[in-house]
Symmetry: C2
Subunit: 360 residues, 2 copies
DNA sequence: CTGTTAGCGCTTTCAT
DNA sequence: ATGAAAGCGCTAACAG
């Protein structure tokens, strides 16, 4: 009794409230209650009844059992988003875009993180669908899906930010345009000895950027880039650090006039190495990051970045996947969102005159 | 026919394989098949039958329907891990620890990311359990659970790395010990003017570190720290940057002898500010991070870090939660894993003599 | 050792 | 406008 005093009238349910409980409380049949609560379009229910059901359900704190509903409807209303568990912050932006779009479309997203040291084949996630845990797969696996890796997946799926072994399931951004943007800016600055420093070739985005950069390198001519070397390294601070030193050694201390960097952790390593080697940025070497992030303002040197449409990528992936789940034939998606090069100046001490103000 | 030629004999199922399909194929009853496949301890099934079932199930590619099983057993075998969607990489380590332990205990983890700009109350995740999506909640919400925020959750749950409004549900690390470790080292180096630069007070870990630091500050005496100021700022690069400049302004250019930094993004901002201000690290100001990460080797200056038992935290959270789900009474957990202070020297150019080698 | 049966909570067709 | 009943795929108590 003393405890009861402290409890609200809508008491925490010892056993969960089921549809039948609502039916009982209102004196109606479960089917009627179900129709009301699901706002069945074919319904013809008296407004008074409808109100009574709604009120009672709310009072009892009724929550539909997702399991039973999914079992009956043969659809879970959820998709899995397989994402590499990396320190690179870009994925949280993609995830955010996917979550928001999925919420709009009344669907849950289960994020499945894949440890990079234990990469799994895309097919190993198929059981999640076969076991009715989710309706489809949004695949951004660490390991690049190999063309010859056997049969296509038999469940609804989309490869996000990478191309799968078979056409019709890829949602990707325009990496070639990103490379072109970088090269155009370098050409404008009359920088001709360039390096693309990126992750392992096995990553599909890297592969596409490297191919685009290589093609640009061979297509020399008036006003064209003369030389773009592609360097692969681990997508870590250490990878960027070591690769930069290798470049400096190979150039006998002469740094490339421009480096495009494929990932944020690598960029940290590159900046550290150039600073340690005494290379001026951007005077000696101009840096461009293919990821955009708040940290770019705090590297101590000016860098530019290509702002890729990451949130749109996540949203497009959800759209493509849910369309497949809904029975539409799969299709490839190339995001053509216009991109731009963003300059990042090192942050300035607050409350102090900026250089511009000083001049004025 | 031409397509059939290219398909393996274990064809992709147009309709999923159910238990009844396996039963039919073996000529047995579904209950028998179920017993075999679940390795029912009470089972007494002929070894030959058992083998036949297993073989057939594998051949047909049978996968149990998780929905039906969970519905019947009134248990999903999954827990939700609510984690702030932040750029701080520590959470991926916690997550990893949780995932591994959950896998050991035959349980799935659904990661639910909470956008920091849309913080939600812990109670808003209760429906996930009431709707039978998961069996329990591992809560690392952005917003600190307030003591007066109403009734306790009625479902199995654990607050991870923060304390909840009611005792018995907290799994936390020893933040006080971390602060003590830092202060002891500063005392050893005879540094007496110290600052703890940390996140917003609303974050429980911050609250506990700030309290511990404040207590140490008042307890002065022979060999004790004389002064520890606590400064709160956003847990971003910008937060660390701005707070550092405020400190420098307040000290008329004199930097604190030591700064303890609560989060990695803040540390980046602090290092950038000290570099811009020309403060020598560690000679003028010694930096200690309460997060450990690979990036610490690439900041260009020596820093130390307190290695917190993050993976163990995730594992302990899963243990505590699954015990609750299993019917045991909830309990608080304080991780007493011994911690140590780790020194990070800036990375050195590869293939060049280290200072030690140069001396030798 | 194996089969029969009931039922988890819900949706949906059909009947009234 | 509402109720009755079947059934989603599985497990577990009970029969044989």
């Amino acid at each position: 009794m003393s405890t009861a005093l402290h409890r609200p009238s809508t008491d925490g349910p010892t056993h969960r409230v089921r549809l039948v409980d609502v039916a009982q409380a209102t004196g109606l049949d479960v089917s009627t209650v179900s129709r009301v609560l699901n706002e069945d379009p074919h319904q013809s229910v008296r407004a008074e009844t409808r109100e009574r059901v709604r009120t009672t359900a709310r009072r009892l704190g009724y929550r539909p059992n997702a399991l039973a509903r999914a079992l009956k409807q043969a659809r879970t209303g959820a998709v899995a988003f397989v994402v590499p568990m990396v320190r690179n912050p870009i994925w949280s932006v993609v995830e955010r875009g996917a979550l928001d779009r999925a919420a709009q479309r009344g669907c849950d997203v289960l994020v499945v993180s894949e440890p990079p040291d234990r990469p799994r084949a895309a097919a190993s996630y198929e059981p999640m669908v076969l076991e009715s845990r989710v309706d489809g797969l949004l695949l951004a696996t660490t390991r690049r899906p190999r063309v010859r890796s056997g049969a296509a997946l038999t469940v609804p799926h989309v490869y996000l930010n990478r191309r799968g072994p078979h056409p019709g399931h890829d949602v990707v951004m325009d990496e070639e345009a990103a490379i072109a943007l970088w090269l155009a800016e370098m050409a404008r600055q009359d920088r001709r000895d360039l390096v693309l420093l990126d992750g392992p070739r096995e990553v599909d985005t890297v592969h596409r950027r490297a191919t685009a950069a290589g093609a640009a390198s061979t297509a020399s001519g008036p006003g064209r880039i003369h030389r773009v070397r592609v360097v692969h390294a681990e997508a870590t601070e250490q990878g960027g650090w070591q690769a930069t030193w290798r470049l400096l050694d190979a150039g006998r201390g002469r740094a490339p006039e421009g480096i495009g960097v494929g990932s944020l952790p690598q960029l940290t390593g590159v900046v550290a190495a150039l600073r340690a080697a005494g290379v001026a940025v951007p005077a000696g070497t101009a840096l461009v990051s293919f990821d955009d992030d708040a940290v770019l303002d705090y590297l101590g040197v000016p860098v530019a970045s290509v702002a890729m449409p990451l949130a749109a990528l996540g949203a497009a992936g959800v759209d493509a996947l849910l369309d497949q789940v809904g029975g539409q034939p799969p299709r490839d998606v190339l995001l053509r969102t216009p991109m731009s090069l963003i300059g990042h100046q090192p942050a300035r001490p607050p409350g102090r005159p900026t250089p511009a103000a000083r001049i004025a």
